[in-house]
């Protein structure tokens, strides 16, 4: 609002300010590029990094893929924290006020709905494949979850009421499931006498696959919920059109 009313002189002053800023950012960008080029061109003390140590312990990790071994075995703690981040994201999104749906009338594009009908089963299949492939090659829980989340976004696009028709408890539990399972595995390892998140060699493969399946499900659900926006309203709570049922301005 303020900038619409801005006078010409103020605008030109603002423009000069912006050009100064962009010059500064160009200089910083050039410096960053030079530093990166220097880091890339000068070989470090150990160009292989931790790769050989990862390879050496791969037989004990329970999976054949190095990336999955790092993500879900060696550095499973980081992945656990990532699940926490997603959970926090959903909590923040759900604490926002529900926004008015853009289209009031339920008008569904026939092209969109037939495309979704074709694509969603395929995406679920691809997600499952990525999950399965994750133990030996590229893929894994996060990638599979992203594909599932994209499928969820397509479903939300066809019916904006999709999330609110789902039972809210089920939705919340589905989102928490990955995190809770991860925590249970971590604490269970301590209870069985190991370290936090330490798997037994004999059961490592099973644990990692179970973790990946559950985490992919929760990640997909969380990403789809991000797209859905605010916390979905219960069908019974749906009152007059556009009035937020949880809003602060609600009259008694």
């Amino acid at each position: 609002m303020r900038c619409v009313k801005m006078k010409g002189s103020e605008a030109s002053g603002k423009r000069r300010h912006i050009s100064l800023l962009s010059l500064l950012s160009l200089v910083m960008l050039a410096g960053l590029s030079a530093a990166l080029a220097w880091a890339f061109l000068t070989p470090g003390p150990d160009p292989l990094g931790l790769a050989h140590r990862v390879d050496a312990a791969l037989a004990e990790s329970g999976v054949e893929s190095r990336v999955t071994a790092v993500l879900l075995n060696y550095r499973a703690y980081d992945t656990l924290l990532e699940c926490f981040v997603l959970f926090l994201g959903v909590a923040i999104v759900w604490s926002l006020q529900p926004s008015r749906p853009v289209r009031q009338e339920p008008r569904v594009d026939p092209v969109l709905s037939s495309l979704v009908r074709l694509l969603v089963p395929l995406m679920v299949l691809v997600g499952g494949y990525l999950l399965w492939a994750g133990s030996s090659q590229a893929g894994g829980a996060f990638q599979a979850g992203a594909i599932l989340g994209a499928a969820g976004v397509l479903l939300i696009l066809t019916s904006s009421r999709l999330l609110s028709t789902m039972p809210k408890g089920l939705l919340a539990w589905g989102i928490c499931l990955g995190l809770f399972f991860f925590l249970a595995v971590a604490v269970g390892a301590v209870a069985l006498g190991g370290n936090f998140l330490e798997y037994r060699r004999s059961s490592a493969t099973m644990i990692i696959i179970a973790l990946e399946v559950v985490a992919a499900f929760s990640i997909g659900l969380s990403l789809a919920v991000f797209f859905g926006g605010s916390r979905p309203e219960e069908p019974s709570e749906r009152t007059a059109a556009g009035r937020p049922p949880h809003g602060e301005g609600e009259e008694p």
């Binding site: 303020r2 900038c3 619409v4 801005m6 006078k7 010409g8 103020e10 605008a11 603002k14 423009r15 912006i18 990336v67 926004s99 853009v102 990525l130 090659q137 590229a138 893929g139 894994g140 996060f142 990638q143 992203a146 594909i147 989340g149 994209a150 976004v153 990403l223 991000f226 797209f227």
Partner: protein, 97 residues
């Protein structure tokens, strides 16, 4: 030789796209450019032999973020239809006259 030429073109295109995403006046165009930036970024992750990151970038960085941006854009434009939406740190040439 062909491969390194491809890499150089990829790098230059990425920088060019990033510049246009930031400077584009039309928000819709910026979002579309952002999505194509994400896809090319995924391609460069493949060139760096990191297919896992490439998959995540293509699905999340490009697909889901692009969808979120498009949805936000639709909400913004439908909220104040007929009124041009300006970010406060960018002023157009024809403004204020």
């Amino acid at each position: 030789m062909v491969v390194s030429a491809f890499d150089i073109i990829l790098c230059l295109t990425l920088v060019w796209l990033a510049w246009h995403v930031l400077t584009s006046q039309d928000l819709f165009k910026a979002v579309v450019l952002f999505i194509s930036f994400g896809l090319l970024m995924a391609l460069s992750w493949v060139r760096l032999q990191a297919p896992d990151v490439a998959l995540a970038e293509a699905a999340i960085g490009s697909g889901l973020t692009g969808a979120l941006f498009l949805s936000a854009l639709r909400r913004m434009t439908s909220h104040r239809r007929g009124e041009r939406r300006l970010d406060c740190d960018e002023v157009r040439e024809d403004e204020g006259q």
